[in-house]
Every structure is written in structure tokens, then in C-alpha cells.
Amino acid sequence: MDYLVAVLLPQLLHGLVFGAALGLLALGLTVIFGLLGVMNFAHGELYMLGAYAGIAVIGLTHSFWVAMILAPLSVAALGAVTEIATLRPIYRREPLYGLILTFGLALVFREGARQIWGGDMRRILPPVTGSTPLLGMTYPNYRLFLLGASSVLLLAIWVFFTRTRAGVLVRAAVQDAEMLDGLGVNVPRLFTLTFAGSAALAALAGLLLAPVFTVYPQMGVEMILLAFIVVILGGMGSMGGSVVAALVIGIAQSLFALWMNPQRVAIAIFGIMIVVLIVRPRGFFGREGVLE
């Protein structure tokens, strides 16, 4: 019982917290994949830039809350510009080109961040301190805030896609962009705005996780691999699947960390993915023939 409360429960919560933030990252990746057919290799760098933009804003205003608004907005603007300048001209080409283009963008962003902010590890102080007694243990307030914020955001995204006209348009574009274009919707603008939105989500995930982890130029590289695994596990193009898979991976990762050394955890996560793909080749919620 002591083991349960003192060890298992906090670790489970850690996993949930991490999984929810990972969900934000993976969701943007899934939407862009569904919409543009591009697996965005630069997504991890947008996540990293979110954290650095946060550091810059906090340096100027000394407020985490202002950063939570300004950092995603600035990364979204960068995303919009990038989309218009580089991705828009290659919409009609093979997905391969998108993959390689975003790989190039990732190199530029990563090295750019290293040139501007240097290569050392940085930290952001959590805006919420202290801890709360919870179910017989004490849990840091910031992580609770992180869980709450991610959940609210995920819920808001769900409402956006199901209840608002813009969200329905995005889903329609995933189904058949050409038809939507024929119906008079400005599809290129829709693509750009969606890309900007996904960049903002990635940036927000980066900023929210920054007080828990450290900030450095390569931080996106490891996260993007995890996010790829989440997207594959959830089923390509399935938004619900991504969120579920993100929570599964988040919890699995922190539970494994109890029983094996951190290095083996990474291999175990890959193992999960391989097993799932053997049993369910299209992931949890992937449908046959979608984007293959």
C-alpha cells in the first residue's frame, strides 16, 4: 500500500501529465499530416522554439503568463510564413518532398536557435510553486497546473473541430481539399492557418514542459521521435487516436522508468510500437486505405 501511494501513484500522475502535453504536440502533427500529407519533421523544432520564445518573453516581461500568450503567437507567425514560403509551392508534389523539405527546415531552426541562444541547457522557473496533498501524497502544483492546462486545451481543440465552422472546414479539407476548393473555400489560407495553429500548439507544449524539463536546441529531436511513435500508434490522421496514444506512451514511459534504467525505457517504448503494429497494423484507430 505504501509502495502504491509513495511510488506508483506519483509516477502514474507524472505519466499522465507528460502524456497530455505530448498529446498537444502529436495532435498538431496529426492534423498537418492529414491535411497536407506532410509528416512535419520540423515540428520538434517548433516545440523547441516555443520554449526559447518563452524564455525571451519572460526575460522582457518577467511573466510566464504573458509568455504563454506571446510565445505561441510568435511561433505561429513563423509557422505561417514558413508554410507560405516553402510548403505552399509543393502541395501537389509527392509527400517525399515535404518530408525532405521539413527536414531541411528543422536543421535551419535548430542551428538558428543554437546561434541565437547558445547551446547550453536553460531552465524556466515554474510560475506556480509549492505542492498540494493529494490522495495521501504531495504533488507539485506546477504539474497539476500542467495537467489542467493540457486537458483544457485538448478539450478546446475537440470543441473547435466538432462545434465551430472553421474546425469543420479543416476536417472537410482533410477528407477532400479539392471539393472544398470547388465549394468556394479559400483552401490555401485554410492550410496556412492550420499550420500556424499546429505550430502554436507545439510551441505551447514546449513552453509548458520547459519548467519540468530543460531547454536546449536539440530538445525537439527526442520529442519528435516520441511524437511520431504516438501518431503511428494512434493511427495516421486520427486525432482521437493521437491523444489516446500520447497518454498510453506517457504513462508507459514513466511506469517503465520505475523498473528499468532510463535507457532501456526508450527501447521498451519502441518495442511497444512494434508489437502494436504487428497486432494492429494501422494503429489504435487507423482505418484501412487512409493516407497510404
Binding site: 499530416f33 509528416m39 516553402t86 509551392p89 509543393i90 508534389r93 509527400p95 517525399l96 518532398y97 518530408l99 525532405i100 523539405l101 527536414f103 531541411g104 527546415l105 528543422a106 536543421l107 535551419v108 535548430r110 542551428e111 538558428g112 543554437r114 546561434q115 529531436v221 521521435l225 511520431f228 511513435i229 503511428i232 495516421m236 535507457q263 532501456r264 526508450a266 527501447i267 519502441f270 518495442g271 510500437m273 512494434i274 503494429l277 504487428i278 497494423p281 493516407l291 497510404e292
Partner: protein, 316 residues
Amino acid sequence: MSRVVTWRALVAFGALAALPALPLASKYYLLLAFDALLFGAIAMSLDLLIGYTGLVSFGHAAFYGLGAYATAILLERGVLSVWACLAGAFVVVSLYAAIVSYFATARRGIYFALLTLVFAEVVYTFFRYTQTFGGSDGIQGLPDAVLWRGVPIDTPERKYYLVLVYLAVAYAVCRVVVTSHFGRVLVAIRENEDRARFLGYSVQRYKMAACMISALLTGLAGAIYPIRSAFATPDLMLWTESGEFIISVMIGGLGTLVGPILGGVFFTLLRDKVSSVVDWYFIVIGVVLVLIVLFMPKGLLGLRRLVGSRPWRQAA
């Protein structure tokens, strides 16, 4: 001349063989030429998969790194024969490649890219954290390999000729593959997978075979690397390395074999030159990549066609 051995290829390899005789060919430039040709050979092997079969592998660094580790482990244990190293790499890489290609070729497009990436990441993580193989430092300070009794590969010239011979053999293998019936089926799969299937070809088997050939050629190239560098590190298997292979193929031109060799050479020289001038060479490389995708998707050989010189004979 046959379809495989062309005059143009003979002249090119003859010129490359004469390179060490040039007065410019210092130790530094010969080893740079080694890296350039090795990178070219890998890009060419990858082109078999990307350019001809239409499968983008983001996991070739694992084949490369496994080959390198096979050699490094053998050299470290005192097995100095180049042939033993190549044989060891062949066995290890074919075992791993069989597993990867079985799972990865079952899926198309993006899935294939991501599956190869994840498999490669497993291998990377394994070597990165296994202290028996040196962990993140890898295996350092290897002795020189021996070609025959009393013929160590110790000078830059010998190392250069080793990689040149390898490139020639690998090029011949690739030419045989793409000019054969097998190669044409691969192109058919790239153009229209369903149609190839309806014609009665076992698409997955063809894909697996293409994947295996490409992986083995890359693995053998990896096996040569520690003979020049005297080390193998897990960084050889990092997925950004796979990305650099793909970049080389793109720079050179998909589906041309010769193009990716040039692409690999160009990329290696670019990296060497730019990194000796500025420390932000990744920005240069990233920008070059973006510009290539946007403005010359056919690569260097495509550019040749663009400026109106004699059209490059259609490969395959």
C-alpha cells in the same frame, strides 16, 4: 560495351584512380576524397530504394552504423583481415535488414519511412547505452586492417583505393540491378504498385529484396569506414545521418545512380568547406536542401537538363 560497363564509367573510374598522383593530393585531401566517395556509394545504394523503388528509408544510418560496428568489434578483438570484417558486416547487416525490411515493406509511403526510422532508433539506443561497445564514446583507437598477410591498409593512398574499389563494385551491382528485369519491376512498383500487383508480381517480395540489397551495400560501406577513421561511434547511426544520406540522393537526382554519387561527393565537400569557414554550416545545408526541393527537385543531373546541354540518358 555492355549495358553494365560503359565507356563513360570506365573513364570516370580511371580518372578517380589517377587522383592520388596529382600534386594537390595531400593526406588531408585523400582522406576527404575517401569520405566523399564513401558518402557517394551510400547515397547510390539508397537511390536504389528511393529513386527506383519509391521507398524513402529514414533508417539507413543503422545499416551503415551496424557495418561500422561489425568491423570495429572485429578489429578491436584482433581480427585484422578486411575480408573478415566485410563478412562480419554482411552477416550482421543482413540479419537486421531482413527483420526491418519484413516489417517496413508491409506498409507504404510515410509508414515505411517512419518504421525504418524507429527501427534504426532502436539500434542507435542499444549501442548508445551498451557499455560493452563503449557506450556513447563508441569503439576508439582501432588498429589498421590488413588486406593480405603483410599488406596493411595504413596509408591514405591505400585507404583511398579501398573505397574506390568498393564504389566500383557497388556501382556495378547497382547497374546490374537496375538494368535487369528485377530492376524494371522495381520501377513498375514505384510508378503504380497496384498495377504491378495485378500483373502478378509479389510486390512485397520485390520491395524486400530491393531493401536488402540497398541495406547490404550501405552496411558494407559502413564496414569500410572504421578502416579509415579507426573508430565507430553511435553517432554514425543517428537519424540525422540518415537524413544526410537522403539529402545527398536529392542533391544528385533521384533514380540516376550517378547523380547520388555526385550528390554525396558534393555534400561531403560542402560540409567540409562550409564547416571550416563558419560554425553554422547546418543552416547552410538546411537552406540548400530547401532550395533544392523548391527549385530543382530533379537534383544536379536535372539541372544539367535544365541548362540545355545534351540530355542525360534516361536511367532504367
